[in-house]
């Protein structure tokens, strides 16, 4: 099977400081990869390099595109990359505000990607938006309300709906449950697990919360100081961590 995404030697420096260094892995269709590590370990830097938000200093991010097969997204033109960003890729930000248009109704937020790829039937767009609000457990009656009137958990679910409405083939998520209350987190995780399973999503999820990857990820990479120190199947890494840092990470969670 061809990997959906092949990451090769991604390195990003901030001046003399290392953001992430020499990261490589493959992601296969339908697979969820978790990236864990303490705050500052380079997870977001890596994710943003893969999603085209940051330009890495070295490395390749090869994506299996629908039309032209495997392409390095770092060297492709900006229009092509931005096109991927609104069709095959989706990006869920840690802070819903960064991923939503706060001045636009919930329906408009979900409909934007549909309109961006050329849908021009108001009724259809609205129906799809309403359907997606239902799937993320937001009442259809809220379709004309702005996200400013939503709770944090609802905003995050709205962001997810807005991202998934065009059926992306790869979803990047940066701490999707960060910044939410514990009970709200649990509900969101449940929802995400359902969506991942039902839609057969391929995803890369960055988190410092091992509970999130335990529930969602097939495979895991542990990062420390910008480098991957351990990688493997989620259960293997969590139940039998090999690297000293992974052991520390796992045990610190167990203590909580």
């Amino acid at each position: 099977m061809t990997p959906l995404l092949s990451v090769q030697g991604i390195t990003k420096r901030y001046g003399a400081h290392i953001g992430c260094a020499d990261v490589s892995f493959d992601l296969y269709p339908g697979e969820v990869m978790g990236i864990v590590g303490e705050s500052g370990s380079g997870k977001s830097t890596l994710l943003n390099c893969m999603a085209g938000h940051l330009t890495p200093d070295a490395g390749q991010v090869v994506f299996d595109t629908r039309t032209d097969g495997r392409r390095d997204t770092i060297t492709m033109s900006e229009p092509e990359r931005r096109m991927l960003g609104r069709t095959d890729w989706a990006f869920v930000h840690q802070h819903a505000r960064d991923g939503l248009r706060m001045g636009v109704s919930a329906g408009g937020n979900v409909g934007e990607r549909l309109m961006a790829v050329g849908e021009r039937h108001y009724g259809d767009i609205r129906d799809k938006a309403t359907d997606w609000l239902g799937r993320v457990e937001i009442d259809a009656s809220r379709v004309d309300d702005r996200p400013t009137t939503f709770s944090g958990g609802m905003q995050q679910r709205l962001q997810i709906a807005r991202n998934l409405v065009t059926g992306p083939r790869l979803v990047f998520m940066d701490e999707p449950t960060g910044g939410l209350d514990v009970s709200v987190q649990a509900r969101l995780l449940d929802l995400l697990r359902g969506l991942v399973r039902d839609l057969g999503l391929s995803a890369i999820i960055v988190t410092h919360d091992l509970a999130v990857v335990r529930l969602l990820a097939d495979r895991l990479m542990v990062m420390k100081s910008g480098r991957v120190v351990e990688a493997g199947l989620t259960d293997q890494v969590l139940d039998d961590p090999q690297h000293a840092y992974s052991q520390l990470l796992v045990s610190s969670v167990l203590q909580v």
Partner: protein, 283 residues
């Protein structure tokens, strides 16, 4: 004003503006930056249109200026006088006799013909400006053809008001490529933009942009399939000439709220009256 060059601007500047116009004509709907000059009239009062007119006028031209459709509004008078003085060109109020027509906010009712040039005064050339204030960002959106946001605005209108709530400066897509602001003409005029026999030139002085529509260009007003664009106007005949197909001004005629509607295009209305048409308010 003999100390000034023909049509006020020096030849160097006119050549620069003509280059921008030609570039605009080859990329219909694309906003070409140009080094707008300071004119002896204020920015926002037609300096872009005046510079474009100055660059295209020749001594043989016949010039017409309208503001709000009328030849005798003060700013139209002022601009016409300016070119009479600086270019000595013949002027007219008859749409069909003019070779160059400078306009603010209207397209004449009478269809234009080949060989004519319609010059629009444009205050804000950027159709995305009120969705995205940054010029650097809107230029990128145009170059990458990222126009989803424009439809989000129309979507929001319908979800809130039941209709697209844009009644003038209604955005259009040109030849399936650039989204363009047609200047603040009422949307009633939008259908005239497309497939027009005349050349249409748009000048924004303060914002330093020129754009253009060559003759017979495809121009489509943005809409949704199930909320199609509608060119609307007040649902009355003209009180003076009885026309039912022209855009109307609403006048308040007494302090009891009495109103009447007359053609905003004064030349059109007068020509109809001269031909014997009569509205209910005519003498």
């Amino acid at each position: 004003m003999t100390e000034y060059n023909f049509a006020y601007l020096d030849e160097q500047t006119k050549r620069m503006i003509r280059r921008a116009i030609l570039k605009g004509l080859t990329i219909p709907g694309y906003q070409v930056p140009f080094a707008s000059r300071e004119m002896p009239m204020p920015y926002g009062w037609g300096t872009g249109g005046v510079q474009v007119s100055a660059a295209v006028l020749t001594p043989k031209d016949t010039f017409k200026v309208i503001d709000q459709g009328a030849d005798d509004t003060t700013n139209a008078v002022s601009i016409r006088t300016f070119f009479q003085r600086t270019a000595g060109v013949a002027t007219t109020t008859a749409t069909s006799d003019a070779t160059v027509i400078q306009t603010r906010h209207r397209i004449p009712e009478e269809p234009l013909h080949e060989g004519q040039i319609l010059v629009y005064q444009v205050p804000i050339p950027e159709p995305l400006r009120f969705l995205e204030p940054r010029e650097s960002e809107t230029r990128k959106m145009h170059s990458l053809e990222e126009y989803g946001l424009m439809h989000v605005k129309l979507y929001e209108d319908i979800s809130r008001h039941g209709h697209i709530a844009t009644s003038y400066a209604y955005p259009v897509k040109v030849e399936g490529r650039y989204v363009m602001d047609p200047s603040p003409i009422p949307k009633f005029d939008n259908p005239k933009l497309g497939d027009m026999a005349a050349i249409q030139l748009f000048g924004a002085g303060r914002e330093q942009r020129i754009y253009a529509l060559p003759p017979y260009t495809q121009v489509v007003s943005l809409d949704f399939e199930d909320h199609p664009f509608e060119a609307s106007k007040a649902d009355h005949p003209c009180g003076m000439c009885g026309a039912t197909d022209s855009y109307l001004d609403e006048l308040i005629i007494d302090d009891l709220g009495g109103r009447m509607f007359v053609c905003s295009d004064t030349d059109y209305c007068e020509a109809r009256q001269a031909a014997g048409h009569k509205g209910k308010d005519a003498a």
